[in-house]
Each structure stands twice: as structure tokens, then as C-alpha cells.
Symmetry: C2
Subunit: 333 residues, 2 copies
């Protein structure tokens, strides 16, 4: 892994580079956390004090809704207003990662040569749970790099995508005027997590009906616990129509949530969830790594009627935790 | 809990009653394991040596396929042939449990007064993971009670139902001639786990086409690792047509799997899975039960930039396992 080697060769330079907002350092840092290795964990620890400042925007919706175009338009406006932007395009359906998939975006980045924008795609590598965690780590890096706005964009409305895009300060659901979209989004639980609804391609037939459908559905939704009433906006991403209003709504949501205390509550809930997931991941690794002989022996005891699954589980747990308790806890990261 | 009190009052009598095949004892024992309390774990341990003899048949399929009628017809034939039968009707969609839901079945049981059949419904109580585990525990009890055949029947083809019915020696998928059934079943992964396919209501229009559709789909399926070729049978449960052939196929599958070694392999895999689930459940309970102050403090450290989710997770894990290691492991069951 070239990024890992570079980090080893010049210790201390990577965190400094990230904090300075250097794009190459950010790219290397994200590669490190994608690998989920010790070096990535150490890096995140050294960057922790610099996180928490950025506003994270989750953007999701069915394929074909024009999310990428809309996110690019949002980024341009934010840059024009003097802000800096990090974009994570997360694709759980693809095993490929890196910038290669994002032809037009890389062009946009390269052409502008603007160091205030950083764009990166992230893919599953076959591990969906890991992707959600890595996306959050990557957002932390962009946060520590001083980006004012971090957009976490997903390709579709599957469970992983809801999880990834839902772990943001403001969640934007993009729909487009085609039959079934509203229903599809509701099924995935997206209607529940979205703070702002956008009907993109609003110049197409059926757009007005879709806006009404979404408004009708929102009437049935349980009110937000912080009193936020999700707006339903219309945009035409290709011409930029409505994009400024969308950004205004994002800002309004942030102000409202900060005032109501839900901004911090949501961040705390997110941290809690991440801690729990990492604890379970570490525990699972311990159990699975406890040696096949131990588990095989316990399985035989159960199938031969000498033990029960419960007694076997407790025996396994006892051996794993006692063994680790003696030897220390250094192998878990 | 009346069953628990009865067990406490007369220690030792419940395992003996179960082993003797007493229906009231079996019912009390299943209530105990449904509660997932220590008494249930102790009971299962004392019954462990008597399990592993019964042939477990998982039966599932979309609602309206006639599963209950077919299972009743199967039970009658098995009883007529001199066998004893336990039936678990598992409904993840219902929060209610007990015999009350099974009007016609209880009547069948009461009318016959045959001690060789035991019928019980089990419902979610709002905890789907717990239901799958409780259904396996209940099957162990029926097994220890000397039932020759245990039928585990589910109401539909959701993920939990596939999990519940799939944890059997022979898995039967019941379809009926209505559009979309095959597709629905395939989506839930049922085509992959089924050993025997049944088109029930075979006297209805579309039955022959459905048989052909299933056969076509099976052509595309990866062959079983033990060389078993799943048959596609036609039944009319209401008249009993084809039920004897279905039972014959179940027996053939058992013989084939025993000879090929897959019968034991599957049981070992099932035991392994149950052990893992119980370990993870116990670990999760430990983490969540480690006191809200500890987790709250770690969450604050993360949101305030003093720590990372990973470092917080490792700290939580260290405190939980070290604390438990000193104090012993008795609180986990």
C-alpha cells in the first residue's frame, strides 16, 4: 500500500499535511482508514481534536435522480461563497474505489485547481459494514482538514446507503419525477431520516405531482422531535435552478437543530453508535480468532448432546475474555 | 410466570416430565425457554443428552399457500404410521404466543387426545432474533421429549422465517399457483435453502406452469454440495393428495443426507451458528450493561474531539472484559 509506506517513511507528516488541508495528504489519509489498519486508527486519534467543526450533509436518493450533478452545483455555490468543500461519493454496489470512477468530477477538480474542494469516491470492497465506518472516518479526516462543508453522497436508497447518508448533520433526499420513487424511498426508511426533500428535474412532467405526493406523505410522518418541518424543494440541477434555495434550507436546518439541541444530540447518538459497532466488531474478531479447535470442540459437544449452545457459548466467552485479560488488550485495534 | 413457579416448586420434575413426553411438561418447558431465563438454560442443559434423535422438518412459503393444512395432513399420516410428532408454528409477524391462535389445531389435538402429537405456536414478542433462538430451543425440548418428527412451520417468507425454517434437517418450501410466488420466494433466499419444493393447491389453475417455473429456476441453481436434487411435488392438502409422496421425499432426503454426511455437517453448522449468536448476544449485553455513565463519558470524549470512536471502543472493551475477568463470569446466562 503506497500510502501506508509513505506514512511510515515520514512519521508525523501526514497529520500535519491533513491539518494544512493538503489534498494529497487527505487522499493518503483516507486510503489509510479504508484499509482499517492500526496506522489509520493512530492517524484518526491524532486528528480528533480538529474535528467537529464541519457541517456534514448526507445526500441520497434513487439512481438517476441527478444527485452528482446537484452535489457539484452545490459545491460550486459553496466555493463561490468562500467556503471549502469535501465530497465523499459512496457506492456500496461497487467493489472499486478511488478517483477513477469520477471522470467528470476529477475534471472539475483538476480544471478549477481549487485546493478548497476535495472529491473522493469510496466503494464497498465487498464489506458493507466496513464501508459505512470508513465513510465516517473519511468525513472525520475532511473535517480535520478544515473543510467547512462535507457532502456524503450515496448512489441509491438501499439499507447501507440510508445508513451512510443518514449519519450526517443534515440529510437531503433527492427524488425525481418517475413513478414509484416515493414508495421506494419510503420502503428503505429514507422518508424517516430526511431533513430536506428535493424534487430534482423539476422541469420534467410529473414533478408537481411528486411534490404533492411527498407533502402528503410527510403529513403522515411522525413530527421530528426537535420541531423541524422538512421542506420539499424543487431543483433543476443541470441549470442550477433552486440550488441556492437548497443550500439556504441546509443552513436553516443547521441553525434550527443547533438552537433546539438536536444537532448535538444527533452527533452524540452517532458517536455512541460508532463506538458500539467497533466494540462488537472487536469482540466478534476475538471470538472468531480464538482458534478453530476451541470452537470445533464445543460444536461437537453440542451435536453429541454433551452440552447446549448456551453452555458452549459461555465456555467460549470465558476462555476468550480470561485469556485476553491476562495477556493485555493490545491486539484489538 | 406460572410455569417458572411450578418448576421452582417441584425441582427435578420438569426434565423428567419432558423426557416422559408429558404434554403439560413440554408446554411449561417451552414457556421457560421463551422467557430466556436461567431456569430455561438449566433445563436445556439437563435435556441435552436426549437430543439429536428427531428429524426436524422446516416448512415455509408465502401466506395462503396452505402450509397449516398441509402440516396437519403430514402429522396425521406420521401418527398413523406409528410415529410421534411435535409442531412449532412460528409467527415473527405476531406479538402473541401460546395455543390460543391455533383454534383448529388445538381442536385437532384435543379431539384426538393423542399424546404423541404436541402443537405449539410461538410469536415474536417484539424480538425477532430471540424468536429464532427460542424456536431452536423449543425444538430441542420436543426432541428430548422423544418426538420422532419435529415440524417447524413459519407464516411467510421473510428473512426471519427463512432463518427459522432453514434451521432444520430437511427444508420444505410450499408454493401455490399465484403469480409472483416463485419470484417472492427467490428474493428471500428460500430457493437456495429448500430441499423439497411443493406446489400446493395443485388442482387450481396455473399449478402446472408453476411446477415448470420452479423446475426452470432449479436448473439455474447451484447444485447442492451433497449431490441432492430437490424434487418438485404437487399436493392438494385439503384432500390429502400427494401428502404421502411428500413424506416419502422427506425420508429420502434424510437418508441421502445421512449417507452423504451433509446431515451431520448441517447440524454442526447449526450448532456453530447458535453458539456464535449466543456469544455475541452475551457480549452485547455486557457492553450495554456496563453502566450508562461509562458509555456517556466516552461519547462526550468523542464529540468533544478528545478521543476517536475506535479509541473509545477499545477503552470500553478493556474496562468491560477486565472488570468481568476479576469478578468471575456468572452474570452472563
Amino acid at each position: 500500500m503506497p500510502a501506508a509506506r509513505a506514512a511510515t517513511r515520514k512519521p508525523g507528516s501526514l497529520p500535519a499535511g491533513v491539518k494544512a488541508g493538503d489534498s494529497l495528504s487527505i487522499a493518503r489519509a483516507i486510503s489509510l482508514v479504508e484499509d482499517r489498519a492500526d496506522a489509520g486508527a493512530d492517524l484518526l486519534q491524532s486528528l480528533a481534536a480538529g474535528t467537529g467543526r464541519a457541517h456534514r450533509i448526507g445526500v441520497t436518493g434513487p439512481p438517476g435522480a441527478g444527485k452528482s450533478t446537484l452535489v457539484n452545483a452545490m459545491a460550486r455555490l459553496l466555493l463561490d461563497a468562500g467556503g471549502s468543500v469535501g465530497i465523499l461519493a459512496v457506492d456500496p454496489t461497487s467493489p472499486f474505489t478511488g478517483g477513477a470512477l469520477l471522470g467528470d468530477r476529477v475534471r472539475m477538480q483538476g480544471a478549477a485547481g481549487d485546493p478548497r474542494v476535495f472529491i473522493r469516491s469510496m466503494a464497498s470492497r465487498g464489506d458493507l459494514g466496513g464501508l459505512a465506518a470508513a465513510a465516517q472516518d473519511a468525513a472525520d479526516i475532511l473535517d480535520a482538514a478544515g473543510k467547512d462543508w462535507i457532502v456524503i453522497e450515496t448512489v441509491g436508497v438501499g439499507q447501507t446507503e440510508v445508513e451512510v447518508a443518514g449519519a450526517a448533520d443534515t440529510v437531503v433526499l433527492i427524488l425525481h419525477p418517475e413513478a414509484g420513487d416515493g414508495v421506494q424511498a419510503m420502503k428503505a426508511g429514507l422518508m424517516e431520516v430526511a431533513d430536506i426533500f428535493v424534487v430534482n428535474k423539476a422541469d420534467r412532467e410529473g414533478a408537481e405531482r411528486l411534490v404533492r405526493d411527498v407533502l402528503d406523505t410527510l403529513e403522515l410522518r411522525r413530527p421530528s422531535d426537535d420541531g423541524w418541518k422538512p421542506p420539499v424543494l424543487s431543483t433543476v440541477a443541470s441549470t442550477g435552478k433552486g440550488v441556492a434555495e437548497l443550500l439556504e434550507a441546509v443552513g436553516k436546518h443547521g441553525d434550527h437543530a443547533r438552537a433546539a439541541g438536536s444537532f448535538e444530540r444527533r452527533r452524540k447518538a452517532r458517536a455512541r453508535q460508532r463506538i458500539r459497532e467497533l466494540v462488537e466488531e472487536a469482540l466478534r474478531a476475538r471470538v472468531l480468532g480464538s482458534g478453530p479447535e476451541l470452537l470445533d470442540g464445543l460444536v461437537d459437544a453440542v451435536t453429541e448432546g454433551r452440552s447446549t449452545p448456551r453452555a458452549a457459548a459461555m465456555e467460549l466467552l470465558r476462555r476468550v475474555t480470561v485469556g485476553k485479560g491476562k495477556g493485555g488488550d493490545h491486539g484489538d485495534r
